[in-house]
Symmetry: C2
Subunit: 289 residues, 2 copies
Amino acid sequence: MASRIAFIGLGIMGGPMAGHLLAAGHSLIVHTRTQSRAADLLSRGAKWADSPAEAAKQADFVFICVPDTPDVQAVANAMLPAARAGQIIIDHSTISPSATQKMAKQFASRGAHWLDAPISGGDVGARNATLSIMVGGDEAAFKTAMPFLEKLGKTITWCGPSGSGQLTKLVNQILVSVTNLAACEALTFARAFGLEPQKTIAAVGGGAAGSWQLSNLGPKMLAGDFRPGFMIKLQQKDLRLALQACKERGIRLEALNLVHGLFDRALEEGRADEGTQALFAIVEKNAKS
Amino acid sequence: MASRIAFIGLGIMGGPMAGHLLAAGHSLIVHTRTQSRAADLLSRGAKWADSPAEAAKQADFVFICVPDTPDVQAVANAMLPAARAGQIIIDHSTISPSATQKMAKQFASRGAHWLDAPISGGDVGARNATLSIMVGGDEAAFKTAMPFLEKLGKTITWCGPSGSGQLTKLVNQILVSVTNLAACEALTFARAFGLEPQKTIAAVGGGAAGSWQLSNLGPKMLAGDFRPGFMIKLQQKDLRLALQACKERGIRLEALNLVHGLFDRALEEGRADEGTQALFAIVEKNAKS
């Protein structure tokens, strides 16, 4: 059955995702800050709305995919007055879990459901509809939204109550960044002693030392290939969210702090748009200073 | 062809390894600090030597598997006067790379070859002959020793000149311990926010966040199952070797320092004989202090 859908934020991720929902036969109304980004979808039958509020008020399902917490809050504030019972908002942005919980409460007071549904898998995952989607919020609303989410991703997990999707995404980012650091330090050690590091990865990567980061980013680190899979500036934004959440909860994670500081140096060196494997350049330089 | 082999150090690793060489039909002479540990091998036809020197002087191949650098140095000092051209020493202990290089030089001056050949895979790997063996030293000597090594392990890598086996083992231990720390911090975060951490591992462990440590030790961390796969006191010994090597080379690895400090706290708490996953208990407590 065709549903009335709004999609707000047509960036490198949101654009292809909105396209999948349109291709599934739904009635789609879109808004994004740079209208030219909507051109392809409009030519395929999507409608344009001049504001997030305008897009949302006509839709039963509102998808959001914008950069950061304040962006989502601006969209939410605009939409809230017109929110209504049964409406489901699905926020694919990676943002603050506690801000998410506040917005979810506001929408719940009007009978609407806010699902936090951050994604991983990059632009390739968005284009190929192979994203991982980590969802928090009302479970019945999640089930209602499931047929849409299945058009966007492959691994779709309901993680628990509101904020759980965001928190799970942050767990993912802690793992990704500290495991990345493990690979950086090990390869720095290997190079400092004149080992052939490709051979070293082959010798140890299949056992207890193995990780996705080592296998996939290690060879790029050694080759100095810092083209982005996932950009440092985005990684750092997510680590900032994780550290902020730690502060709110009164916990301290030392390796997370350490890797966040090292990525800060990468930003200072102008590496914001490089891939996260460029952390290796920082670690190797830092080791010798 | 049956060869004359000496095996020095019949501990939890060396015992079964010597047994495989005996079973392959070689003439085996053994020495170990606690003679009762040799009983099984002696009943199967091995001969006893009263000292490492006595064992080595009758053998073409001398295998060593003892705990730490000073233990190997004591064996080497005892053997050196009787070392002779063509003799091959294969040291399976995990010890200092620079001490290894010194001993290799001393034996080379007498025409003998010293191969550093540290192992990973634990007591199960020793019993089942599925160890990983990382070898450094003369490549021709490595090839000569290969038929014996194949009786002991599955993944056997020549890593480069003398010391390269030890260095590769230390690369492995840096990866293992910092990746372990990544899992500890991520699961600490997950538990602090009331996520269901088993579900979290399932949601994120298959992608860029994935590692052997997370998949294999994560569930044990959450269950509080700290029975040893690899004991903290052994992990810490290897990290100490890695830090010592860094110091000698003038490099500094911050995450390695951090995880070494956390394992120190585990030792202070009496967790020396627990498995490395007990790091989780330290990280979780530390996060809240």
